[in-house]
């Protein structure tokens, strides 16, 4: 299989970036996108050129590391998939493919396709947890949680922290990411007590980090690899007004 890649190259955070073209032959349609980049890099290294800096780890869609935009599709042209779950059989022989990093003011580019998403950790640090210390927990079955509630909490907690929701949003809002965590925890009896401060602080941190505000376009839900629903943004807003 043959593909022409247009890859975003940027030497460092401050450097000016641009697309560079690479023609690849001998690809296999079962390769994943990171495997294609491995293939490209082996070639570049042998030619004495700087390989494309990109990050991936689990390569099975769960660690949230690998996301880039492929032909403008955040994460993947496939539905509910991460970049590492995208295989070359999604493209046609001879296609030209653009690969570029997620773009958002709060996710500065570090090099080529690598970005800094630590802003998301800082949002969590403002209350995206239940304040229980080791040793304080009551017996597990003393907290009853209905099947539906547990499943709904799981749906929200399934977030892999990849930032696709931010990258696709025209306002670069982190509302889905933050809403999912707030919703996950406030839905559970053991997380209710801290609801008020949680939502206030996390929303404030979101603003502080330079994420935009949500205008409810719903684009985030469509690209979320875990299919997390925008209903969690509604929950967040409700919790916020309540608080």
């Amino acid at each position: 299989m043959k593909l022409t890649l247009q890859v975003w190259r940027q030497a460092s955070a401050k450097a000016k970036g641009g697309f560079e073209k690479y023609a690849l032959e001998g690809l296999d349609e079962n390769m994943s996108v990171p495997e294609m980049l491995d293939f490209l890099n082996e070639k570049l290294i042998k030619e004495g050129k700087d390989p494309v800096a990109f990050e991936s780890d689990c390569r099975e869609g769960i660690c949230g590391q690998c996301g880039i935009a492929i032909n403008g599709h955040v994460q993947s042209p496939e539905k509910r998939a991460t970049t590492c779950q995208t295989h070359l059989r999604s493209f046609r022989d001879g296609d030209e493919i653009h690969l570029e990093p997620f773009r958002a003011a709060a996710f500065p580019i570090k090099k080529d396709l690598c970005i800094d998403r630590t802003a998301l950790d800082r949002i969590i640090s403002k209350g995206g947890f239940i304040g229980v210390n080791t040793g304080q927990a009551p017996e597990a079955n003393s907290i009853l949680i209905g099947h539906e509630t547990a499943e709904a909490a799981f749906d929200a907690a399934a977030c892999i922290g990849c930032g696709a929701c931010v990258a696709v949003c025209k306002n670069a809002s982190a509302a889905l990411f933050t809403g999912a965590k707030i919703s996950h925890l406030s839905m559970l009896p053991q997380g209710k007590l801290e609801s008020k401060t949680r939502v206030q602080q996390m929303v404030a941190q979101m603003d502080e980090e330079g994420f935009g505000s949500c205008t409810f376009t719903g684009a985030c839900e469509k690209v979320c690899p875990q299919g997390i629903s925008v209903a969690h943004i509604v929950t967040m807003n409700r919790e916020f007004w309540k608080s």
Binding site: N30, E55, H87, R117, I124, S125
Partner: protein, 633 residues
């Protein structure tokens, strides 16, 4: 003599006794002590958060961009605990027994008992953190059963149990970084251990974004750096999993136990081409309904649907009538490898066996199977492009879990004082074969409940904040700088990735599921040759700042040394046990044959100099469990 520091007294009371008599530090004095924790998986995050809650200063290091990306995130199936919520006769004792037996009587009784004992509180802790475990309609926690046991003690959160547990631990850690005493260093790799007078006093760390190398000092060091199954290149582990932290600690004196005991998971997806970088695990639960078979005829070119029933060999059902397709991992994996090696393998590379749902679909209907495994079938389709409702899945054994690791005593401390090793990075609880859903548990209890007490006990005898001699600091820094400069300067023609792939194939074929003396000897000389070539032919692109190739090269350098010890260990152990199967030592029926008289010990290795190892033995005493032949017929 190896001192395990196992407390006296009956096994049921050892841990209580330990906690009651261990040394404490007054809350006001705790902040004077600093502990370094390397790794933010379940073991590292939970340990760091818990120590900070107690009041200690904790410096956390991970090469990941965020602590939440540690490989614990990928665990699917579940976590064991002896809650006996099912009233099916489970107990701490039974879990202890199952684990020791599952490990083929090559683990330490006292440690295993403690893990089972702490499992109860762990579930409580996770629930309190908001981990959304599966629930019954009544609101109570739900359980399922996992391989190698007869009770239902596995707690789960759909197919993402590891992710959910890690979120709990990650959130506890992040909370401490905001309100407690944790300082987080992401994108830092530990390059070396700082040992002063046989005490761990810090690490050499490299900032992966700037390339800067620094010495980080502390009063104790915790390594929770995960497993090294990725040494086989193709494995179920994440791309960046590595052995470097524990290997560098080993080179500084920490003993390495049972390096060759690696678990191969029976239901991974097979390799499909040379370009492939990792193998994806399919949950073991599929074996509840799928039937495993290969064509009876060698090199059979027919599509599975064209092979009539009588020409199929359901080899697990044939060989293990009572456990059938649910035989334990080591046995199932080995049986698959035997079929593949004897020309019965299937799939494009003839490296797989079939896992067939045809009969289950005929029996229960497609809807029922979809309800049970829909997400797994979808995942299979996503990766392979194939539809498992219509044709059998292709599965194959893949390197998955390291039972081996740095040797630790009952306090999870290595022979280097003040160096604690937790989670998959240590050798402790799983013996020669790990039971499914026990390792998430081990990582968690090591971090939340055990290390907190044992680290405090150690620190209580130490003067806090003793500065390391500047001469030592600058030497250590230079050593790492020189090491990396040397790798960059080779300027050969082969990438680190190519060396890693070559090493992986070598180990998989010669020191993998089935081992044999002449082949192991061959492997040894080939690894030595590969090592030589590495220092002659390696090609790393320039650049000290973000340079993933340089990171890789340093890890592969360590893998090449560890590989030699793995082979040495496999050679030295002239018996078969658990995942370690020596062809020369099998029963007449082809099963693993232990030699308890001569090998009822853990092999504990010391590196004398590069590539030269010395064996120490930790004799295993079984006071509570009768050692027996492990049969699943």
């Amino acid at each position: 003599m190896i001192a395990t520091k196992i407390p006296n007294g009956p096994i049921q009371e050892k841990w209580t006794q330990y906690k009651a008599t261990s040394k404490l530090i007054n809350p006001a004095n705790r902040r004077k002590y600093k502990v370094i924790v390397v790794g933010t998986g379940l073991a590292g995050s939970s340990c760091a958060a818990s120590l900070s809650e107690l009041g200690f200063q904790v410096d956390v290091f991970t090469f990941h961009e965020s602590p939440r990306r540690a490989h614990s995130v990928a665990a699917q199936g579940g976590i064991n605990a002896a809650k006996d919520y099912k009233n099916d006769g489970d107990s701490i004792w039974r879990m202890f027994y199952d684990t020791v037996k599952g490990g083929d009587f090559r683990s330490r009784e006292a440690n295993v008992y403690r893990m089972a004992e702490c499992s109860l509180a762990l579930i409580d802790q996770a629930v309190a953190q908001g981990v959304p475990f599966a629930r019954e309609y009544s609101g109570y926690l739900s359980n399922r059963s996992f391989g190698g046991v007869q009770v239902s003690r596995t707690f789960y959160a759909r197919g993402q149990t590891g992710q959910q547990l890690l979120q709990g631990a990650y959130q506890a850690l992040i909370r401490q970084s905001a309100v407690g005493n944790v300082s987080l260093h992401t994108r830092y790799e530990m390059m070396d251990l700082v040992v002063v007078e046989n005490k761990a006093k810090g690490i050499v760390a490299r900032n992966l974004d700037t390339g800067e190398i620094s010495i980080q000092e502390a009063d104790a060091v915790v390594l929770a750096t995960g497993g090294y199954g990725k040494i086989y290149y193709l494995s179920t582990l994440a791309m960046n999993c590595n052995a470097s932290a524990i290997w560098r600690a080993h080179k500084r004196g920490a003993h390495f136990a049972a390096p060759s005991w690696t678990q191969f998971h029976p239901t991974s997806l097979p390799q499909m081409g040379d370009y492939q970088s990792k193998l994806t695990l399919m949950s073991e639960s599929l074996r509840n309904d799928g039937r495993i078979w290969v064509p009876k005829k060698e090199h059979d070119p027919r599509a599975p649907k064209d092979i009539p029933e009588e020409e199929r060999d359901y080899y697990l059902e044939r060989k293990y009538p009572s456990y059938g397709n649910l035989a334990p991992r080591d046995i199932s994996s080995r049986a698959a490898k035997e079929q593949i090696d004897s020309n019965h393998g299937v799939g494009p590379m003839k490296n797989a066996v079939y896992l067939d749902f045809k009969d289950a679909i005929a029996r229960d209907g497609k809807a029922a199977i979809e309800k049970r495994y829909g997400n797994l079938f979808d995942m299979y389709k996503k990766i392979t492009g194939m539809n498992a409702y219509e044709q059998p899945m292709l599965i194959s054994p893949a390197a998955h879990f390291s039972m081996g690791g740095l040797w630790v005593d009952y306090e999870l401390m290595s022979n280097v004082q003040g160096l604690f090793v937790l989670g998959e990075a240590n050798f402790a609880d799983h013996g020669a074969n790990r039971l499914g859903a026990n390792s998430l548990l081990q990582a968690c209890v090591d971090g939340y409940f055990i290390s907190t007490h044992t680290i405090m006990n150690y620190l209580a005898g130490e003067t806090p904040n003793v500065k390391i001699d500047q001469a030592i600091v600058s030497n250590l820094k230079k050593e790492t700088e020189n090491r990396l400069a040397k790798l960059l300067a080779i300027k050969g023609n082969k990438t680190a990735e190519e060396f890693h792939k070559e090493l992986g194939i070598l180990l998989y074929t010669k020191c993998g599921l089935i081992r044999e003396k002449p082949i192991l000897l061959e492997a040894k000389s080939q690894i030595l040759a590969l090592q030589k070539s590495f220092y002659k032919d390696l090609l790393v692109p320039e650049g000290q700042q973000i340079n993933f190739e340089l990171e890789k090269a340093a890890r592969v350098e360590d893998y090449l040394e560890l590989a030699l010890l793995i082979v040495e260990d496999a050679l030295q152990r002239e018996e078969s046990c658990g995942a370690h199967f020596r062809k020369e030592y099998q029963t007449t029926e082809g099963e693993a044959k232990r030699n308890d008289e001569e090998y009822q010990y853990v092999s504990v290795w010391e590196s004398i100099e590069k590539n030269v190892f010395k064996l120490h033995k930790e004799q295993l005493e079984f006071e509570y469990i009768k050692v027996s032949e492990r049969s699943y017929k």
